[in-house]
């Protein structure tokens, strides 16, 4: 097996909140291979976005990171500022949740696209313009010339998100990090944006870290899904396997909480309670207060992520029991 494109090794990220440092990502490891699409799924505040920002070192001031972020074996956490900027400019691009807030409102979308092409790519003005039109066509914008002239305020959210994707592709990156790229958009537009990502994956063999709170969305796009809770990875499996046979009660809960159209359901099951903030994270397994499988041992320390299947990892002490108990329930369903 080849070395992964990106590897996170035992990453812990702490943010300063009211004068103290609190971990928002805890002992997290993950790998992304070339051309692979990895989903990072979790509820709001689970640390997904902070994981993404840790990779590109886009954390708020005073944040502390331990562990390693290896891109082709080069540790980004130790990289000098200039080299890091080169990585951001050429190798890893990022797309954010709210394009309206994440694109400078004072410049046209043409300025936005061409800034990247000219500054990072060294293109001339006319070359950059031609390339920008090409990129817009790639993300399904037909009247590119008009969009290039338009200010963000004059474009719809879906259109702006396409512009942001085009801007990310301008760098011709090896890895694309997409942080909830469709959450701020209408459902119909969501599907169009996902189709764009799917095309990028198939046609460009672009590796992606796709961050979402929506398991369904992750399943539509990702080869492999990591479920995150309270800053930790709870479960990691290939998408189909995860849906067929979840290994962690939290994943099972998430799967049960989604509405399924082809089944008659009395009511949606929801996981009781809410995820803890970094400040309130309980000792032991962070999920134990909401878990119906909880036992004494769950309270002693956070269970490590262990291999349960050939290609399935879970941070639950009772993974095998849960797998066996839940398989009949999920096994026939989604894949």
């Amino acid at each position: 097996m080849n070395a992964p494109l990106l590897e996170l090794r035992a990453i812990t990220t702490e943010l300063e909140i009211q004068g103290r440092h609190w971990p928002v990502v805890r002992d997290l490891s993950l790998t992304i291979d070339e051309g692979e699409v990895v989903g990072l799924v979790g509820e709001s505040g689970s640390g997904k976005s902070m994981t993404a920002r840790t990779i590109l070192r886009l954390l708020p001031p005073k944040a502390r990171v331990s562990g390693h972020v290896l891109l082709d074996g080069v540790d980004l956490t130790a990289l000098p500022k200039k080299d890091l900027q080169q990585v951001r400019a050429r190798r890893i691009s990022m797309i954010f949740q709210d394009p309206r807030a994440h694109i400078d409102p004072l410049w046209t979308s043409g300025d936005h696209l061409m800034e990247g092409l000219r500054v990072n790519g060294g293109l001339s003005r006319s070359d950059a313009r031609a390339k920008a039109l090409e990129l817009l066509a790639d993300v399904g914008i037909v009247d590119g010339a008009r969009v290039l002239r338009a200010y963000p305020g004059a474009l719809s959210g879906g259109m702006l998100q396409r512009v942001m994707i085009a801007g990310a592709l301008a760098a011709n990156p090896e890895l694309l990090i997409a942080d909830e790229p469709t959450t701020a958009l209408d459902v119909t537009i969501q599907a169009e944006i996902i189709a764009i990502f799917d095309a990028l994956r198939r046609e460009r063999k672009l590796a992606m870290l796709f961050i979402t709170h929506d398991l369904e969305l992750a399943s539509a796009l990702c080869d492999r899904v990591l479920v995150m809770y309270a800053g930790r990875i709870m479960e990691e499996q290939a998408t189909a396997a995860l849906f067929a046979s979840p290994l962690h009660p939290y994943t099972a809960g998430l799967l049960e909480a989604r509405p399924v159209l082809d089944e008659r359901q009395e009511r949606l099951t929801v996981i009781p309670g809410r995820p803890p903030t970094p400040v309130e994270t309980p000792p032991g397994c962070p999920f134990h207060p909401r878990c119906s499988f909880v036992q004494e041992a769950c309270l002693t320390g956070p269970p490590p992520l262990r291999r349960v299947e050939a290609d399935g990892y879970s941070a639950c002490l009772r993974s095998t029991q849960i797998r066996d108990q839940l398989r009949p329930k999920f096994g026939t369903g989604h894949a």
Binding site: L58, R88, D98, H102, D104, L106, N120, M164, A171
Partner: protein
Amino acid sequence: MGWYVVRRLLGAIPLLLVTSFIVYSFLHLAPGSPEQVLLAGKNVSVETLQAIRDKYHLDDPFLVQYWHWLTNVLSGDLGDSIVFNDTVVSVVAPRILPTVELAAYALLLILVFGLSMGIASGIKRNSPLDTSVSGITLVGSSISTYVSGILLIAVFSVALGWFPVFGLGTGGLDRIYHLTLPAIALAIALSALVARTARASVGNAMDQEFVETARSRGFTERRVIGKHALRNGLIPVITISGLVFGFLISGAVLVEYTFGLNGLGALLIQAVRTKDFAVVQAITLLLTVAFILINLAVDLLYVAIDPRVRLQRSSA
């Protein structure tokens, strides 16, 4: 955009008319008859009195008087100064340049010190620099131009003898030397206002998501701040710059009086004290028209810089 400029220019005309009307009507609002007001209580012959009544068309209805006055003003005739025994224009005109020089000098200081302090502390918030800027601006914004002016005279002119106490000097470098303390006095409070505004707005812009996007694209910090954070952060500074010019004009009046500079402001105060009403009207009108036009320019600049406002207003 072009159409919007035309519309705004036309829109300023009613405002200019109404303000000039108010300035004119003070002649009638003031206690005593208009000719007495214009004569500042001097005893003159019946012929002179009638000459004034004729010149101001005081026998005509009020609006007709105003119309005559306005057309005279527009053709460059602002009446006569009873104190100087000369036309208002030849009394006022030579005073314009020193005031403009003073204001320009102060504006330069405000931009160099106030704006840069505000930007620097907005970029590096909660740094020692930021804390000291906050302290300086709090005190600075509470000290009026005349207080700072007098204190500057006390320290740098009287106690240390570095700068002249009064007057404009002979021109050239000497003029700059003479205008330095007045310009500093005028700039202190306004620098504080500009610095506070810039600190807040640049600081706010630094927190905006698009700044994160620019960083994520691998741009240098210099570019991230210069092209994105600053441009957005300076929009509120442009919107308050109309206010800054207003205070600059009012402050210039006080500073000229404090430092005995023969500009428009000092002349205005002299005219008020000697009841030289035609001169008061002329200077008030001049400064108000300048203020209205500056505000108009600021507004157009704002629209030119911020596409969101442009979208909103061109559709309105």
